[in-house]
C-alpha cells in the first residue's frame, strides 16, 4: 500500500511456445485422465496434480510449497500420441503449404525474387511496425509463390493443397496428415520465414502443429464443490480429460498395430478435441457440449467479447471499498457533499498509516471499537481492522479495542471507518462523460439512501424514481489529492462539451427564483427573515419603507447571494425572443437582467440565469471568482429557492387548465373545420385534381399538406388555450421560466392533443387499408389516421386513446434502440481517441508520436474554459472594464 510503483513494465513481446519450452515450463507430465481419488485427494500425474497448484485449503503446492492464495499455479503438459494442428493457425499453415516446396521446403520463388523481396522486408522492423502492413506485404509475396507448380530450387513437381475446413488438408484428394504437415513445415529454412510474416527469432512454423500440449495451472480451472459434496470440474479440465483419453487410446492402438482406419478415426477425434479445447466456436464443427447440453467455454471463449477476460476482467475490475444504494434528494446539503447512510459508513474504511504524529489520536479512535456513538447517540467513526506491517489483519471488536489500541506502532495501518469530511467518489451509470464520476465530501446521515443536492442531478443525469448510485472510498493519498484538486463537484461545474455550466438550479429552484424576482414583489420583515433563515447570511437587504413598515424586495433578497462586485447584463429566457417590449415586463428595461456591483436592479431570474447548460450567472461567477465561489452561489441559491418556495407555496392541479366555455367551443370549431378542410383535400385528390409539389408523388404531397394542416390546428388551439392561461397560472410559470415542460405540453392538456405520428408520418398501419376496423377501408381522413381532437384534460375517446398509444410506443422503441446504438458509437469513439494527449507545446499527439494537431483546437484553448466555444469573450471583458471604471 505504501511505496508507489516499484516496477514498471516497458514492453511486452509476444511469441509462440516451442515444444521444448512447453516441456521446460511444465512441472508435471500429465498422463492420467482422472482428477481425484475416492478420498478426494488429487491423483498423481493426473489433471489435478499438486504440482500444478492447489485450490483446497490445507494442501500445499508440490512445486513451490505455497498454500491456497500463495501459490500462483504452475503449468503441466501432455505429450500427444500423434501431432495435431492448432486451429488458430490453420490459415497460416495453409499459406506455408501452398507457397513452399513440398520436397526441399524453400519458398517457391526464384533466387532473384527472393533477394528482391528480402531487401523490402529487411527494411521494416517486424516487432514494432504495423502488423496490417506486414500482413499485406507477405500476402503479395505468397500469392506469387502459390501458383507455381515446379519448385524453382529443386525442380520437383508441386501439388495443390486444399483445405477441407476446418482442419483437414488434402492433396489431390489424399489426406495430408498433421504428421506430414509438420514434417514439411520443419523443412522450411529460417531465412524463408520472413516472407510469411513470421519472425524466426520467436516462432517456427512446425510449432503450429502440436506435439505437446501445455496444461494450464489449476488456479486457472478450479473445480467447485457443490452443496451435495459433489465435485464439478471446470470446462477446461473436462476438455483436457477428453484429450488425454483419446491420446492414450491412440497411442495404444498405434503401438499394438490396430488397423489404419481405426488409428485415423482416433486421430481425427483427437484433432476435434484439441480444436474445441482452443476454440469451441470453430466454424464447421459442432461445439463440444457439457452433459447438460450447454456448450463448453474453452480458451477462446474465455478471452473473447464483453464477458471475456479482456473486457470484463482486465480493462475493468471489481473493487472493494465501494457501496451502492438508492439515491434521494437532500436540499440542505451542499453541492459538493454526499449523504452516506450510517450503515454504509460503518463498513467503508479509509486506511491510515500510523506515524509519530498521528499515533495518539489514532489510539483514541481504536479505543472506541467498531461501532461507537457519542453521548447523543450520534455516529462517531470507529475502526474495523488494524493491519500489521507484514500484512496480517486484526479485527477490532468492542472487546479487544482497548488492547489493540496499545499494540499499534509506527508503520501499522489502521482501517478507520468513514468520517464526515472524507473525500469519496460518487458515480452513476451509464458513465457517459467525466461528470458522471465526481468527488464529494462525506456527510454521515441516518436511513438507508445516498443523498445529494438537486443541482448535481444534471451532470449525473439522475432522478429519484429508484435510481441507484455507487460510492468509492479513496484508498491512497495520491488519489485523494487528485480527487480533491480535479474531481470535486465545483471543479466540474463547467462542462468540457460546450464550455458552459452543467450544474445549476433545476425545477423548483428555477420556479422559485422566478417568483422571487419577477415583478419584484415585496415581503415583510418577518417573511424575509424566515426566508433568509435558510441561508448562512446574517445581513438584511436594504428595506423598502411602505405604509410605515419595512418591506424587502425580491430582487434585493436575491442580490444577497450574489458576489459584491458582480456586474452583468443579459436577456432573461422570458423575454429572450422579444425585440422591443416583452409582454411580461412592467417597465421597458425589465426585459434585461441588470446587475451592478452585486445588486440586481431589474429583470427576472429564470432558466437562462441559473439553469444547467444555460445559467449565465453561474457561468460568470465561475469565471470571475472561481469554482469555490460558484459552488457557494449554487448552494445558497438552491437553499434560498427551497426556503422561498416552501414559504410561498406552489402547486398545480387539473383546474389550472380550465379555460372558458367559449374557448373550448372555439377549439372544437377550428378542429372540425380542419377535418373538413382535410376532407376537401382528399376529395380533390380522389378526383385527381390535387397538384403534386415538384419532385414528389401526389400521395406524398397530400400527406405533407394534411400534416401541415393538422399542425396548424394544434398551434392555433394552443394559442387559444394559452390566451386564457396567464403568468398567474403555475403551469405557465413553470413552462415560461424554463423549470419544466413547454407551452406545447400545456396546450396539449388544455387545448388539443393533435396529430399522432409514426416515423414522421400519419398513422397508416394496422388492418388492410385502414388503421382500425372502425373506419371504412381506404378512409384516409383526419380521424382515421390518428388526429386527436380532444385534450388530455377532457379525455381521449377510445379511438383517440388507441392512436395515442401507437405514437407513444414509437417513442419508447426509439429510446431503447437509441441507447444501444449511441452506446456502441461512444465506445468506438473512446477506443479510437483514448490515447490522444496534448504535449507541452499544445500539440496533439498519439502514442506513436504522430502529430494530430499542431495546436489543439487551432487556438490551444481548453473548451472547458472557453466562453461557450469562443476563445475569449471580448464583450464581457469590455463590459467589465467599463463598469470597473465607474466604481
Amino acid at each position: 500500500m505504501t511505496g508507489g510503483i516499484s516496477k514498471r513494465i516497458y514492453r511486452i513481446q509476444f511469441a509462440l511456445l516451442s515444444p521444448d519450452e512447453v516441456r521446460k515450463l511444465s512441472q508435471v507430465k500429465v498422463i492420467t485422465a482422472d482428477t481425484y481419488d475416492d478420498d478426494g485427494y488429487p491423483i498423481e500425474r493426473g489433471l489435478m496434480d499438486l504440482h500444478m497448484g492447489v485450490i483446497e485449503p490445507g494442501l500445499k503446492c508440490a512445486t513451490c510449497g505455497g498454500k491456497v492464495d500463495e501459490c500462483p499455479g504452475h503449468f503441466g503438459h501432455i505429450e500427444m500420441a500423434m501431432p495435431v494442428l492448432h486451429v488458430g493457425f490453420i490459415k497460416e499453415i495453409k499459406t506455408f503449404l501452398d507457397s513452399t516446396c513440398k520436397v526441399c521446403g524453400r519458398i517457391k520463388l526464384t533466387p532473384d525474387e527472393i533477394a528482391n523481396y528480402r531487401a523490402k522486408f529487411e527494411d521494416i522492423d517486424m516487432a514494432t511496425s504495423d502488423p496490417e502492413i506486414i500482413g499485406m506485404m507477405s500476402k503479395k509475396v505468397t500469392d506469387e509463390a502459390t501458383p507455381r507448380l515446379v519448385c524453382p530450387h529443386c525442380g520437383s513437381q508441386q501439388k495443390k493443397v486444399i483445405l477441407d475446413k476446418p482442419t483437414t488438408f488434402r492433396e489431390e484428394g489424399i489426406k495430408v496428415t498433421p504428421k506430414e504437415v509438420r514434417e514439411r513445415l520443419e523443412r522450411i529454412p529460417d531465412e524463408d520465414l520472413i516472407f510469411f510474416a513470421l519472425n524466426h527469432e520467436v516462432a517456427r512454423p512446425e510449432w503450429m502443429v502440436l506435439t505437446v500440449l501445455s496444461v494450464p495451472p489449476i488456479n486457472v480451472r478450479p473445480s467447485i464443490t457443490l452443496e451435495t459434496g459433489e465435485r464439478s470440474e471446470d470446462d477446461l479440465t473436462h476438455k483436457l480429460v477428453d484429450i488425454i483419453r483419446i491420446s492414450q487410446r491412440l497411442r495404444e492402438s498405434r503401438d499394438n498395430g490396430s488397423p489404419q482406419l481405426i488409428i485415423e478415426d482416433l486421430w481425427d477425434l483427437l484433432q476435434f478435441h484439441v480444436t474445441t479445447y482452443f476454440d469451441n466456436q470453430t466454424a464447421g464443427i459442432p461445439p463440444a457440449r457439457h452433459r447438460s447440453g450447454r456448450a463448453l467455454k474453452t480458451l477462446v471463449q474465455r478471452l473473447k467479447g464483453k464477458e471475456g477476460r479482456f473486457r470484463s476482467n482486465l480493462s475493468g475490475k471489481r473493487v472493494n471499498f465501494s457501496a451502492r444504494t438508492v439515491i434521494s434528494p437532500e436540499p440542505f446539503l451542499s453541492v459538493n457533499e454526499v449523504g452516506v447512510p450510517e450503515k454504509a459508513a460503518r463498513e467503508l474504511t479509509v486506511p491510515v498509516t500510523v506515524n509519530i504524529f498521528n499515533m495518539e489520536s489514532i489510539r483514541e479512535v481504536i479505543k472506541r471499537g467498531s461501532g461507537p456513538r457519542d453521548e447523543f447517540g450520534r455516529y462517531v467513526t470507529g475502526v474495523n481492522y488494524i493491519i500489521r506491517p507484514d500484512g496480517r489483519r486484526i479485527k477490532v471488536t468492542d472487546q479487544n479495542a482497548e488492547e489493540n489500541s496499545k499494540r499499534i506502532e509506527v508503520g501499522w495501518t489502521v482501517e478507520r471507518q468513514l468520517m464526515e469530511g472524507d473525500i469519496v467518489l460518487f458515480n452513476r451509470q451509464p458513465s457517459l462523460h467525466r461528470m458522471s464520476m465526481m468527488s464529494h465530501t462525506v456527510r454521515i446521515l441516518p436511513d438507508q439512501t445516498f443523498r445529494f443536492n438537486l443541482a448535481v442531478c444534471t451532470p449525473y443525469n439522475a432522478d429519484f424514481d429508484g435510481d441507484e448510485m455507487n460510492l468509492h472510498i479513496i484508498q491512497k493519498e495520491e488519489a485523494r489529492a487528485e480527487a480533491r484538486i480535479i474531481m470535486k463537484v465545483q471543479e466540474q461545474i463547467m462542462s468540457p462539451r460546450f464550455g458552459g455550466p452543467i450544474i445549476g438550479g433545476i425545477h423548483d429552484h428555477i420556479t422559485s427564483m422566478f417568483l422571487l424576482t419577477h415583478d419584484n414583489p415585496l415581503y415583510s420583515e418577518e417573511r424575509t427573515v424566515h426566508m433568509l433563515n435558510y441561508l448562512d447570511i446574517d445581513e438584511m437587504p436594504e428595506p423598502v419603507i411602505k405604509d410605515c413598515k419595512k418591506y424587502y424586495s425580491g430582487r434585493d433578497i436575491f442580490s444577497l447571494i450574489l458576489p459584491k462586485t458582480l456586474n452583468m447584463r443579459f436577456r432573461s429566457k422570458l423575454c429572450s425572443s422579444a425585440k422591443e417590449r416583452c409582454e411580461y415586463e412592467k417597465e421597458p428595461e425589465d426585459k434585461e437582467v441588470y446587475i451592478v456591483n452585486g445588486r440586481m436592479i431589474h429583470g427576472t431570474i429564470d432558466e437562462a440565469a441559473i439553469g444547467p447548460f444555460s445559467g449565465i450567472i453561474v457561468d460568470r461567477i465561475f469565471r470571475k471568482y472561481g469554482p469555490e465561489e460558484a459552488a457557494k452561489f449554487i448552494d445558497r441559491m438552491t437553499r434560498l429557492a427551497v426556503g422561498f418556495i416552501s414559504y410561498r407555496g406552489f402547486s398545480t392541479g387539473i383546474s389550472d387548465y380550465d379555460i372558458p366555455e367559449d374557448a373550448v367551443s372555439r377549439i372544437e370549431e377550428i378542429s372540425s373545420q380542419a377535418v373538413e378542410r382535410i376532407n376537401k383535400l382528399i376529395e380533390t385528390f380522389r378526383k385527381g385534381l390535387f397538384q403534386a409539389s415538384p419532385g414528389r408523388s401526389v400521395e406524398e404531397s397530400l400527406e405533407i399538406e394534411i400534416l401541415s394542416e393538422t399542425g396548424k390546428v394544434r398551434d392555433e388551439s394552443g394559442k387559444i388555450a394559452s390566451a386564457y392561461l396567464g403568468l398567474t397560472n403555475p403551469s405557465v410559470i413553470m413552462a415560461r421560466s424554463g423549470a419544466r415542460a413547454k407551452m406545447l405540453n400545456i396546450s396539449e392538456v388544455a387545448g388539443m392533443v393533435g396529430q399522432q405520428s409514426v416515423r414522421g408520418g400519419r398513422l397508416n398501419r394496422g388492418y388492410y387499408n385502414r388503421t382500425l376496423p372502425h373506419f371504412k377501408p381506404g378512409d384516409i381522413g383526419a380521424l382515421a389516421r390518428g388526429f386527436v381532437q380532444s385534450s388530455y384534460k377532457s379525455g381521449l375517446n377510445p379511438l383517440e386513446y388507441f392512436m395515442h398509444s401507437i405514437g407513444g410506443r414509437e417513442g419508447l422503441v426509439d429510446t431503447a434502440v437509441r441507447t444501444s446504438r449511441s452506446g456502441y458509437m461512444q465506445r468506438r469513439l473512446i477506443n479510437a481517441f483514448e490515447d490522444l494527449k496534448v504535449d507541452e507545446d499544445r500539440r496533439v499527439q498519439d502514442t506513436v508520436g504522430a502529430v494530430i494537431q499542431f495546436k489543439y483546437g487551432e487556438d490551444g484553448v481548453d473548451p472547458t474554459r472557453s466562453d461557450k466555444g469562443k476563445t475569449v469573450d471580448v464583450d464581457y471583458n469590455a463590459f467589465d472594464i467599463e463598469n470597473e471604471v465607474v466604481e
Binding site: 516462432a203 479482456f310 469513439l829
Partner: protein, 512 residues
Amino acid sequence: MKVLVWKDTKKNMESLVKNLPRKYAVDFSPRDQSIKEAYISVDGKTFTFRAVIDSIAPYDETEQNVLKKKSSPKTVFEITTLEKIDPIPLIEFKASGKYLKEMKTWNIAERSLTEMKEKEAYADTVPKDINEIVEDAKKLGFSLPLTVAYDVLKYKKSLDKKEYTHLLKRLHEDIVKKEIDPHEAVGIIAAQSIGEPGTQMTMRTFHFAGVREMNVTLGLPRLIEIVDARRIPSTPSMTIYLKKEYSKSDETVMSVVKELENTSLIDVADVITNVAEMYLTIRPNANRMKERIVAFNDILDATEKVKGITVIRDEKDQEIVVKPQQESFKKLYQVQEQLKILTIKGIPGIKRAIARIEPSTKEWVIYTQGSNLKDVLELDEVDGNRTYTNDIIEIATVLGIEAGRNAIFMESQRTLQEQGLEVDQRHLMLMADMMTFGGGVRAVGRQGISGRKSSVLARAAFEITTKHLLRAGLIGEVDPLSGVAENIIVGQPITLGTGAVNLVYKGLKNTK
C-alpha cells in the same frame, strides 16, 4: 484558342519527328483554317505531342513527300515543329462545349486553360483595422488571435486609449489562463463530448433540409454514418450554387436542372422486345421527351455507347430498331436491360434536382438527390466555390483530404446543431483530424483507427481478440505499452494527465 486534336499511331509520329518540316495528309478537312496548333494523342487517353501547323491546304495527289495518316486523305498540313510534351489529360480539352472523355479520331477542341492565380497571402485579406489591432497587441508584447481582433474592433473606437490597452492586456491574460493543460486527455474528452449527446438525439431518420421535397438523414443515424466513414451516405445530396451571372436567371437555372437530372432511356421511351424476330424497338414518347428536353438524336447518340448492336433508324415512325449482332436470347435480354438504364443525358448519380430561390439572397439554389461532385463541378454555370455535397468520401477524393477533413467537421457540426445540441467545435475538429491525418478518410472503429493501434493488447481488448493475439505471436510483435488501454490491462498508471508526469526527488546528497 481553338486547336486541333487527333489520335495517331506511334509509328507515324516517330517518322514525323525525324523529318521536319513535313507535309502531312489527313482524312478530314477543318472548316476553320486559322488553326495553328494541334495536339496529338497516341494512346487515346493523354496528349503527348504538340504540333505547330504552318499551313492548311487541300490534298493534291500529285504532291510528293507526304506522310499519309489514312488511305483517303483530304487535307495536308504543313507541320513545322513537333515537340514531345508532358502528357496532358483529355479532360483539359473541350469539344463543342463538352469535355473530352475519349479520343477517337480527330476533333476541333478548345483547350480550357485553367488559369492558376496565386492566392493572396492570408495576411493581405485581413482588413487594415483588424491588422492594426494585432499590431497593437504585438507592441504590448503578445499576439492576439485574429478572431479575437475582429471582436475587439468595435471597442477600439468606443474605449479611450488607456482602457483599450487595458482591454488588450486583459484579453491576453484571459487567453493564457484558458490554455489547455499539457497532458490533458483531449481525445477522451472529445469522444465523450460527441458520444454523450448521442443519447439525446432522435432516431427519426428523415428530416426536411432546406426544401421540403428533399429528405436527408439526420440525427443519430447520420452521426454514426459520419463516424463510420461510409463509402456512400444513405441520402447523398448536393447543394449547387450557380455563378453570380447565372444565379438569377430562371432559364439558365432550369436548363442546368435538366442537364443535371439523370435521364435514362426508360424515362423517355419504351423498349419493346420482339422475341420472334430477335430485335428491340425503342419507341420514344414525345411528351416525356419534351418534359425532359431530349431530342430524338440524343437517344440515337446514346445508343452508340452500347456495344455489340446494330442500330437502325426508322425516320418515318421516329423509332429506333436495335439488333444484337450476336443472335441469342441471352444477348437480346442483356441488350434490353442495358438499354433500359442507358443514360441519355444528365449526370450519373443525380436522381433528382430541384431549384429553389434562397429567400435571403434572392438567388437560385439547386438541391439534388444523389451526388456526383466531380461531374457537377465541370458544368460551366456551377459555382464550384460554393457548391456542396454531404458525401464526405466524395469531397475527400475530388477536392483532397483537407477538404475531406473540413467536410467531416461541417457535417458532424451540422448534424449536432440541427438537433439543438451544443458541442464545442474543438472536439469535432479533433475527430475530423484524427480520421484524416493519415491521408485518407479512416473510420472510427475496428477497420479504421482502432484496428491500427500500435498495441496488441489494446486491439485485443477492443474487438476480434484472438486474431490479434495469435498474429502477434507469429511476428513476435512488441507491445510498447504506451497507450491507455494496455496500461490498464497490465495494471499500471496510464500515461495521460497526472500519470504523464514524474516527480523526481534527489535526496539530501546534493544539498551537502
